[in-house]
Structures are given as C-alpha cells and as structure tokens.
C-alpha cells in the first residue's frame, strides 16, 4: 500500500483513504457501491461534473435553497420596513401627489425587489461556501501528490477516517474489490 509523502518519525493522524478510477463511468459505479456500503463521510473528485452523480452518491437535496429562501425573506422584510416606516410614519412627505398609505407600495417595490435579490444571492453564495466549509487554506488530500490530477484527467474517491464504517484494512479491501487503483493512505 502506498503512503502519502510526510515527514518521517512524527506521529501522524490519518485523514483517510483515497483511490483512483479510470473513467467517469467507473467513478459513477464506484460511487453507487460506496453509497450502498454505507459510508457517510466520503467524496468523489472529477475534472468535470458528472450527470446523476448526486443520486449515485445518495446526497439528497442541498440545503442552499432553504438558506437562500430565508435570506431572501429577510431582504424583503428589510425593504418593507426601511421604506415603509420612515415614509409613512416617521417623516411622511407627499411626493408627486401620491397617497400616504399602503397604496404607495409601487414606489417601494423596486427597492424591495432589489434587496430581496441581493440578500438571496448573498445567502446562496455564502451558504454554499459555509456548507462546503470554505474558504480554507489547504486540504489534507493535497498531501498526496497524485491527487493534483483531479482537475486534469483523473477520477478519485476519498473516504475519511472519521467515517463510522472506516477501517484501514477493510476499507482498502473494499476499494480493491470495486476496481480502484493506486489506493493510498492520506495523512493530515
């Protein structure tokens, strides 16, 4: 079994096991088998998105849309209060002969709309980053030199040591049985 390059002598924490597959199709079927084996903390890495991979990994729905909805509603509320309260109660001014009640709402709509969109976009972006635990300086998988090819022409599966089903030898045997190559123990 290969080991990722690390300084000799010092006690090292195992991050997990990573392995390479030949093609997107092989990676897809490997993902289905890992899902069925019952791994929870694992991932696949490929240079491009593979259609249907989220189903093959059993990922379920992303929570980004829920976060985006919540922040969008916050934006709407901000827009309504920020304009409605001063314009109608705190400092009412009649502009263009428009009425001083809720019927003036068309005038407030552009700002309400823009704030909704802005907060929704921020919520979606920042929520996605938070769920991916980004930004971070480095990831232990990069300790394995070969892994750099994930953005070029190689397809990887990585299974983290924190996974409840992770056992060094048995996980390696499992990966061998599903046709993985270059199975490597990666240290943090």
């Amino acid at each position: 079994m290969q080991k990722s390059a690390a300084t000799e002598g010092e006690p090292q924490r195992v991050f997990g096991i990573a392995a390479e597959f030949d093609s997107p199709a092989a990676l897809y079927h490997a993902a289905e088998k890992c899902r069925d084996y019952g791994f929870k903390k694992w991932d696949v890495h490929s240079p491009f998105p593979i259609h249907g991979m989220d189903a093959a990994m059993g990922l379920g729905r992303s929570k980004v849309s829920l976060i985006a909805l919540c922040t969008a509603l916050c934006g709407t509320t901000t827009g309504v209060i920020l304009q409605g309260y001063p314009s109608l109660y705190e400092y009412p001014l009649i502009v263009h002969g428009k009425p001083l009640n809720w019927m003036t709402i068309p005038a407030f709509f552009p700002v309400i709309f823009e704030l909704t969109i802005l907060c929704c976009a921020f919520g979606a972006l920042l929520g996605m980053l938070a769920l991916n635990r980004l930004p971070r300086w480095n990831h232990p998988l990069f300790n394995w030199e070969r892994f750099g090819r994930f953005s070029d022409d190689a397809f990887f599966v990585s299974i983290e040591a924190d996974d409840p089903k992770f056992q060094e030898t048995r996980t390696r045997e499992f990966l061998e049985s599903i046709g993985a190559k270059n199975i490597t123990l990666v240290y943090e």
């Binding site: 729905r61 909805l69 002969g97 068309p106 005038a107 709509f109 552009p110």
Partner: protein, 404 residues
C-alpha cells in the same frame, strides 16, 4: 403497420395517439361548440351585437395567445438547440397547427371591427390625436396587418411541423438544419407579429392610450399560458397511458421551472408597465389603468396581481412539487383560469365602464368555449396523424436520458 416499418432500429417504440374510444369526447366537444354558438347567435340577434363581438374578441385573444405561445416555445427549442423538449415538441407543434383554423373566429371581429374599435368610425380631421396616428390606424392597413399575422404564424408553424414529421420517416439530419435556418428570422417575425397583434386587436380598443410595454406584456402572458397548456396536455396523455417511459418527472421539473420563470417575467413586465405609468402620471398613459383601477374593476385588477404572480410563484417555488404530475396539472389549470382573468380585464372594460356585467358573462364564456372546443377538436384530430414524439430527432436520446 407502416408505423412499424418506420421504427428506428434502436430506441423506444413508436407511439400513435388513438381516437378509437374517444367518441364521447369528440361528441362532447361538438355539443359544447354547438351550444356556445347558439348562445352567441342568440345574443347577437336578440340582445346586443356589440356585446357579442366583444365576447368573441375576448375568446379569440385568450385562445390566440395560447397558440402563439406554443409557437414561441417551438422557436425557442430550435434556436437554443434544446435537448429536454424534444419529447414534448410534437405536442407543441400540433398545438401550433391551430393557426390553420383560428382565423375563422377572427372574421366576425374583422367584419364588425368598426363596432369594437371606435377609431374606425371617426372621420379624419375631427380628432387631432387620432390624425397623428392615421399612418398606423387606418382600416386597409389594419386588415393587411391582420392577414399578414395569420399568414406568417401559420406559415412558420406549418413548415416546422412538416420538416419535423418528415424527419420521422427517414431520419435525415438535413431537416434539423432547415429548421435551424428558419427559426432565427422567424423569431423576429414572431416578435413583430405578436406585438402588432397585441396593439391592433387589444390596445386599439383605446386609441388614445400609449404604452411601449404592451407587446411584451401580451407575449409574457402567452408563453406562460402556453406552457400551462402543454403541461395539462402532457399529463393527460400520460394518464391515458401514452408516452410511458418517454416523458418523466425530469421533463415536468423543467416545464415547472419555465412556468415559474414566466410567472416572474410576467410580473416584471406587468409591473414595469404599471409602475412607470403610475409614477409619471401623464393623462394619455394613465387612461387604461384608471379605468381598470376604479369602480367594479378595481377588485379584479388587484386580484390579478395576487393571482397572476404571488400565488403561482409560491405554488411553483418548492422543488419536489414540480416533479409531481397531478400537482403540476392542478397548477396549470389554475394558470389558464388566471390567463382568462387577465384577458377579461384587458378586453371587457373597454365596453363596460362600471365593472363586470352579469349578462355579458354568458356570451364571454360561450365565446371561450366555442373557440377552445373547436381548437381542441382539431388538435386531437391532428395529434393522431403523426407519432407522438419526434422519432428520429438527433437530440432524442439526450431528451430521453434527461437529468436535472
């Protein structure tokens, strides 16, 4: 048997729409059309010709926008080289064959046009504002435009369907190339056609009114209602056992997304039109909205904002809902009802200033039923003539294996 001979070597089985056990449906459609025609004729002779012509215009604009919307979706499909819509394209193409028939219902409107469109009866020199618009608003040019719109829309949809069905037989990719060459100029013609149609037939009801958004506003509603009609048709076909393994919830997910997108687009256009007119407060622009925001129409106009945007927006927002066929059909039926309300508020206030007149509801409804049932009758007849989906489209495989 010929269907089997044309079947591609590999791929899903050839499917034809069968009308053997649809006798009651055809009979029901004919009865509905007959009763509506009787109501309209009775209304014209016994009550009020003007009311019947307005009802016909309402029914016509409701149905015409749906047909135009279906033509739009075919054009967009080809222009963007779309994959997902290949399996439902034949249904859209058959919907667009309605341009063969719908002009018949425009004939009474054209004959009685001077009763509906007040500007036709005003002699030159009596109305300065109208005289400035005579280049556009004169009867011969108005008639020519109407004829051109019907001819162009019929021509485009006819060519698209002819090439699409010809490809079923020999699978020659040259038809895809022909179609591609046709659709880009057609998009321009379609935009001009629907804009002039909207201005001539609907905005012309008030010849003083200005709005630069009007064509886009009508178009937004058209595409929205046409997508709903497509959803209803596809779900109904699936319930009847057709398109099994061809159309699945992935396709409905995309149709739901487009339905949601055009809900927002309509709101954007509709609000953009209202907002600028409301803010600027110029008399020649506000006339349309003052009439629709006062007296009996105020309630309906306010309802339109809620029913045309907020409710469908919330109904279509949740992702799993868009993959549920029954739910999507329910939403699509609701969408068509709101489209009917939208066009009711566009057409009828020009006749009844004070609000909805109960008496007119009969002829309004009869006009919609007459035109819609006739078009559905011919739609079902035309659907039997060719396979239910393009058998040998180069993009068919991608469409079958669609993943969102």
């Amino acid at each position: 048997m010929s269907a089997v001979a044309h079947a591609p070597a590999k791929g899903p089985k050839v499917e034809y729409f069968q009308t053997n056990n649809l006798g009651p449906v055809f009979f029901g459609l004919m009865i509905a059309a007959g009763i509506s025609l009787a109501i309209l004729a009775g209304g014209a002779f016994l009550l009020d010709k003007k009311q019947v012509l307005f009802s016909l215009l309402y029914g016509f604009s409701f149905c015409f926008t749906i047909c135009a919307g279906s033509l739009f979706w075919i054009l967009v499909h080809h222009a963007t080289d779309a994959e997902w819509s290949v399996v439902v394209r034949r249904i859209l193409e058959t919907m667009a064959t309605s341009f063969r028939y719908i002009w018949v219902f425009f004939l009474p409107i054209a004959i009685g046009a001077s009763t509906i469109y007040l500007w036709m009866d005003i002699a030159p020199g009596k109305d300065t504002i109208l005289d400035g618009k005579r280049g556009m608003l004169n009867v011969p040019f108005w008639m020519t435009r109407a004829a051109l719109i019907f001819f162009i829309f019929w021509g485009i949809s006819h060519l698209l369907r002819t090439w699409s069905t010809a490809q079923d037989k020999d699978g020659d990719p040259k038809y895809t190339v022909f179609t591609r060459r046709l659709v880009f100029p057609s998009i321009v013609l379609f935009a001009l056609g629907i804009t002039f149609g909207a201005i001539d037939w609907l905005k012309g009801l008030d010849h003083y009114w200005f709005s630069t958004m009007w064509g886009v506003y009508i178009f937004a509603g058209s595409a929205w209602a046409a997508m709903a009609t497509l959803i209803i048709t596809t779900v109904t076909l699936k319930k009847a056992g057709y398109l099994e393994g061809i159309v699945n919830e992935e396709h409905f997910h995309i149709m739901g997304k487009l339905q949601l997108a055009f809900t927002v687009f309509w709101a954007y256009i509709g609000f953009g039109q209202y907002f600028l007119i409301w803010y600027a407060n110029i008399p020649e622009e506000t006339s349309y909205f003052i009439r629709r925001n006062t007296e009996g129409w105020n309630v309906l106009s306010t309802m339109l904002v809620v029913c045309h945007f907020f409710i469908p927006f919330l109904l279509l927002l949740w992702q799993p809902a868009k993959r549920n066929l029954n739910y999507m059909r329910g939403v699509a039926i609701y969408v068509l009802c709101v489209h009917a309300l939208d066009h009711y508020i566009i057409v009828l206030p020009a006749l009844h200033w004070a609000g909805v007149e109960f008496r007119s509801l009969f002829t309004d409804l009869a006009a919609v039923v007459l035109i819609a049932s006739t078009l559905i009758f011919f739609f079902l007849k035309n659907l039997t003539k060719f396979p239910l989906y393009p058998l040998r489209d180069p993009r068919l495989k991608q469409s079958l294996n669609l993943k969102n």
